[in-house]
Structure formats: C-alpha cells, structure tokens
C-alpha cells in the first residue's frame, strides 16, 4: 500500500502521474476543525430543535428582545458550530503537539 502523499511533484513532466495538489498543514488543521464540527452542529441543531421551538426559547430567555424563529434557528446552529469547533480545535491542538513515537515533537519538524 502506498499513498504517494509527500512525494515531490516538482520537476515532473506534464503528464506526471502525481501532479496533484496537497494541502498545507494549516489548511488541514482548518478543515479538521471546521468540518467535523459543522457535521456535529447539524446533528445537534436537528435534534435540539426537534424538541424545542426557538420561539419558546425566545419567550423565556431575552424578555427585552424579540426575534423570528429563523433567527432562532440560525443562532442555535452557529452556537452549536462554535462550541463544536472549540472541541475540534482542542483535539487538533492536542494531536499536533503530542510527542512522536520516536520521541521528537510533532511541532519540531515538518513532515
């Protein structure tokens, strides 16, 4: 099993088999934080608002302001997304800063 990831693609002919793009570590981090949390937030939003009407929440939470149910759903979704992103952020941080089996730090050198 080979994956080809990490192979140098520079200087290959036009039809080189591995002329493909590869994300930087930063791009991978951003994707690993935002995407799983987006999926989790979708599930959380569906389950939560399956049982709770945002207008009921509005009635018991902020007596001075009134918002439409669409605003309620959007606030709920972005709330869940941000909380889940925080969790993903910590996961990525912990994985990226752990020690490799050979004792070196993952942050020491780039792969």
């Amino acid at each position: 099993m080979t994956t080809g990831i990490g192979k140098n693609t520079q200087g290959l002919p036009e039809d080189a088999p591995r002329a493909w793009r590869r994300w930087t570590r930063r791009a991978q981090n951003i994707a690993a934080i935002l995407w799983p949390s987006f999926l989790a937030a979708c599930i959380a939003t569906a389950v939560f608002f399956g049982y709770v009407d945002p207008l009921d929440l509005d009635a018991i939470s902020t007596p001075m302001t009134e918002f439409s149910s669409l605003t309620g759903y959007a606030i709920g979704f972005f709330f869940f997304w941000s909380i889940c992103s925080l969790s993903s952020l910590l996961s990525v941080f912990l994985i990226r800063t752990s020690r490799r089996p050979d004792g070196t730090h993952r942050t020491d050198t780039h792969h």
Binding site: G4, T9, T24, R26, Q28, A31, V47
Partner: protein
Amino acid sequence: MDQPNTFYESAEKIHAREVDGTFDRLRSASVVVLLGLYYVLPWLRWDDRQAILFDLPARKFYILGLTFWPQDFIYFALLLIIAGVALFFFTALAGRLWCGFACPQTVWTTAFVWLERIAEGNRSRRIKLDKSPWNADKIRRKTIKQVLWISFALWTGYTFVGYFTPIVELAREIIAFSLGPWESFWILFYSFATYGNAGIMREQVCKYMCPYARFQSAMFDRNTLVISYDTARGEPRGSRSRKLGKSNENEHLGDCIDCQLCVQVCPVGIDIREGLQYECIACAACIDACDSVMDKMEYPRGLVKYTTENAIAGEKSRILRPRIYIYGTLLLVLLIGLAGALSSRYELRMNVLRDRNALYRELASGQIENVYTLKILNKSERNHPLTLTVDGLQNFTVATDPVEPVALAGELTVITARIQAPAKDNSDGGHDIVIKVSSESAPDITADAESRFFLPVN
C-alpha cells in the same frame, strides 16, 4: 511546509482526462438523476402547496401527502439509521459505491467539471491554458468559466433555500429585492459552499475532510468488490515497440502497455496500479480507460476491474456471504418497518390533562363532574369534527368547550371537556378511564388517552 498566503503545497491542479465507458455513463446518469431531483423537486405542487417543503417557522415538514411534526422525530431517526445500515451494506458489497456515484461531492464536482470543459475545453487544452500567460483568450475562457460556476452555485443555493421557504415566493422576493436577511444569507452560504467544494477543493474534500474515506476500510473484507489492477497479468509493464506490433510475446511484457491513461483519468490523481489506496473514490474511470485500451490492443478486458482480494490472491471468492445477508436482512427489515410505521401513522394524537384545581365538583343535579383539558394534534390536512366517548364510567355525559369541537387541519386544538357521571351509578373513589375522540367524518380515525375520574368517598 507552510507557505504564507497559500493553502496548497503544490499549486498544480488535477485535470482528469475525459473518459467514455460503462462506468462513466453510469455516473453521468446518476448525476443527471440526482441533480435533476434536487433542482426540480421544490417546484412540484401537491394540492395547494409545495410538494416538499420544510417549513421551519411553522415547525412542519411537508413531503408529498404527508405532514411531519416535531413529534415525528422518530421517523427522521429511523431514516438516518437506515442510511447508516445501507452504507455498511453497499460498502461491504462493493466498496465506495457511494463515493463514486452518489455522494453530493462527486455529483456536484462532476457537474462543475462539465462546466469547466464547456469554457476551457478538454484536458490537454485546460492544462495548456493554465500554463499559458494571461492573454485575451485566457481571460475570456476563465471569465466564462467563473460566470458559469457562480451562476450554477447561486442557483444551487437558491434551490436549497427553496426547500425551506416556498420557492415561488422566494423568486418573487429576489425579483423585488425584498429578500429577508436570513434567506439572503443562507442562499449565499450554500452557494459559496457549493462553489468551494465542487469548484475549488474537489478531491481534497475526500482526502482531508471526509470521515467515511478513513473508516470505510473497516467495512471491507477479502470478499469485497474493489477496483484492482491485475498485477500478475499486467507486469512487467512497458510500451510496445512499433516493430513488434501488438504482440508482446517476444518482449516478455505483461498486458499493461504503460499508457498512463488510468492515471490521467483519475480525479484524485492516484495510480491504481500501486494497489488499493485510501484516496480512491471508486469512480471506476480507470476501468473504463483501461478497457478501451485493451480493446484497441485486442487484449481481453479487465486488466483493471472490480474484483475481490481473494480473487486476486487466487483464493475462493464469495461475494454473497453471511455479512451481506445479515446487512441486507437488517436493511430490509428497517425499510419495511419505516414503510409500515408511515402507512399506519396516526392522524390524530391526544394528550389529556386533568384540571389541577379540583378533584371533582358536585352538581346540583347529583352528578359528579371532572374537568379535563384535551390537547389534540391533527397531523392530517383535513379538519376532523370530533365525537368524544369515555370508557370506564357508567351513564356519563360530556360537555365540551367549544360545544362542537373540531380538530383543525395541521394544528394543535385545545378543548375543555367536562365529564359528568351520576354518583349512584359509579363506585366511590378513583376510576381509570380512557377518553377517546373519533372523527365524525371518518370514524376509523381515532385517538385516545388514559386519565383518572374521581368521585367523592362517602
């Protein structure tokens, strides 16, 4: 290596070569059907409303003749479980069928590549165009592409929001520039996501963002159909010299002529000849490409084909195996369960609350009265005038407020019911009763709920 201002280590874009063959036609058909459904469904009508509408403010989902309420969450959960089991079934059977033919990422990427081809031409022209310096032709072609992409993405976002806001109304609002802030936001959000995923990121989504790509191998076994290169037959690979024509006997070469077509058609940029790789989305473009070459060479097809690990190893291969039967049976049972649950869905549901202020009231006539609040949910789209009966009491009478209660279509109706029964005909203390409502227009449509009826203890 992190570079400033770029998310790509190498900026070279994969331009997959166009290919024709059985699997590519299957995928095109799948793309047309799935995208067709997506773009057409919100325009269909059912009676006086949109056939499929997820009305979030009213908290009602309309799907054809059915209306779903938050109380019907169980159906949604059941549907998700079925989707999960189906994924297990199809992955165990033939690997990543989902990825190659049905995943929205693949479907929309295919559509975006079609648009790209319209604007920029075939693969070699696109590669040349990307390498060429900016000139009038390049600007023109790239502009056409962006216009096509952005329009398609915006139409996709508009359609998406059209599942939640009546799509015709949405069109009127857009034309009148009176679109609500949230509708505008979600149209742009979804358009941007479509453009980014299908236009820009493409196979990177599968490689870096998709969890299924990483865990699908757990559903594989040695009898799963996967796309494989027949190493024993193909190697040693090598191009054929013209002198020897199509024959490879003298050169001791395998059947692979090393034409690189399987690599050029691959949308994720791998070489299938290196074995099964997690980037492979099982689109089978390499099978189509290789088969066409084998035909030209007059070699038998199938140098790259769907086969099992066991078959490659020369062992006995069983595609229909216990795992498939178990997943298949489970899937069938769940599907029948969902169909059964949907067809026997109650149109009426009722909750009964006893009056909390008084256990009972003694009326001048000698009757004992208990008061109940009935909350009746009518999930159907017709009104049901109600008849009320009580099990567990002798010679009772019921007075309701309103006097002639009607469960309104698609609404929660609250009715006060005063149930009266003579003390002489019923024993003292508490009685378990069942309050039952039935529709006068359709007597088989009923709902009931248990409660307690109290008489004084002498």
